[in-house]
Symmetry: C2
DNA sequence: GTTGACATTAACGTTACGTAAAGGTGTAAC
DNA sequence: GTTACACCTTTACGTAACGTTAATGTCAAC
């Protein structure tokens, strides 16, 4: 089956302008141009367009779509599997958002209360995903396929020594946190020592120090389950304890 | 609680640029400007921003969001309910798309075969929805709250007489179709009479006539379940019969 | 041989921001 | 007291993915 722009457009539910644009940027060129200069698309182009629209639906930029499906190593089945996973994630996020809406309705009716933080929950997950994606990409560009641990040092182009120092600090933090947690007092000397160590650690991470940001990060350790899981892995409650200690330490 | 641009941005997971832009276009103005010219947001703004992001997530343009939430009749709880329904629809569509991906993977592995039509199913539903939304909006702008039936005449700014004529035609089509269907022969004189009547009808709809489009529409009566349901409502199989009659009539 | 649907290129418009430039503000640290 | 640095400001140009308009060529049908 052969298609002109309009026929293919109708088939796929897109405009002729879109098809010409796709030709222009080289993401979907017609199989041939007939004697009158008309674009003629064939079976291969139909399939390729389908691929393009799949990725577009995911919010992938045309530029990236081009890279993905033009790469010589492109394995379309594998790409589809990845695609499938992303769609499932998107669905999950949508479900979070739906829950959030239901919560907000309940709140409007006065049945429950929501914190300002909670009000943006459905959206935030998306942000985190995007950051991860961006972060991961940049790291891969800079360091190739080195270990994930080293990628932690990304922010400041850290030296190996600095990195080792950070590692040591982070071990020390976890140990001291465990000790301090036993005392049950975030304001105590051990609790404040953890906060001080943590300050040193993020100072290295960020290249500078900022009280409010520190307190904000501590709050995130409680709000973001990935961080909570990390700090709570030995004793549940440690993430919250750390936040309280830092709150007192920073006075925020 | 009061927020500066950055604090609110972090809370909601958006950039400061976005907040300034929202101020600029008047969709979200700060509660006040302090002595240094800083934007200060309060509780109302947090809630309004949440509303904005809800709609944005749905793909509504900022311009339309502004109209929606600025309308004096804006009922936020009711809006949330609508919003909730739309999210559920979006989820459903996403599930269709996921199924489509799974189907395509299966196809790539040679387990099943898919027609060109099927390949675009997930997108098409979306297209239909969008068209309906756009269509409905434009009609409301043009005719206010008149009946949905009259809105059918939208395309060509049809007169009342034309509209009545169309109505009469559509009744005649249904009656003749029922008669013709009994003969079981789409090529017979009754079958071809239906096709001819249908040609007249769509000529009025579109303002012109095109064979291929006619044949295409007839195919859609079979492919799109909403049309199929309409034509099959008296006798299952009538949609298919009509398509066959039109196929023969147009010679496509 | 004239419609009218279809095709072409060229080029400017749009939305929702990103990004940089050039500068003022607030406060913690030396 | 001034340095430093995270904030804030406005102005203004850049971008993605097309939409839209204009001016023009092509093809099938009546």
């Amino acid at each position: 089956m052969e298609y002109t722009v309009q026929k293919l457009g109708r088939l796929a539910g897109i405009s002729t302008r879109t098809l010409r644009y796709y030709d222009e940027i080289g993401i979907l060129k017609p199989a041939r141009i007939n004697s009158s200069g008309y674009r003629i698309y064939g079976q291969n182009e139909v399939d390729r367009l389908q691929q393009i629209l799949f990725y577009r639906e995911l919010g992938v930029s045309l530029d990236n779509i081009k890279k993905i499906i033009s790469a010589p190593s492109f394995d379309s089945v594998e790409a589809l599997r990845q695609h499938h996973i992303k769609l499932l994630e998107k669905k999950k996020q949508l479900e979070t958002l739906i829950m959030n809406v239901e919560k907000t309705i309940a709140m409007s009716e006065g049945r429950i209360k929501m914190s300002d933080q909670e009000k943006f929950e459905g959206f935030k997950q998306k942000l985190i995903d995007e950051n991860e994606e961006k972060y991961g990409k940049e790291v891969r560009e800079k360091y190739g396929d080195e270990t994930v641990d080293i990628s932690n040092a990304y922010f400041k182009n850290m030296s190996k020594e600095d990195f080792d120092k950070m590692e040591a600090l982070s071990v020390q933090i976890m140990e001291t946190l465990a000790e301090a947690f036993k005392t049950g007092d975030p304001a105590g000397s051990l609790g404040q020592k953890v906060a001080e160590l943590h300050k040193q650690w993020i100072s290295m991470c960020w290249g500078h120090y900022d009280k409010e940001a520190h307190a904000g990060l501590a709050q995130m350790y409680v709000d973001d389950e990935r961080f909570t899981a990390y700090y709570d892995k030995e004793q549940p409650g440690q993430a919250e304890f750390l936040r309280d200690a830092i709150r007192i330490f920073t006075g925020v």
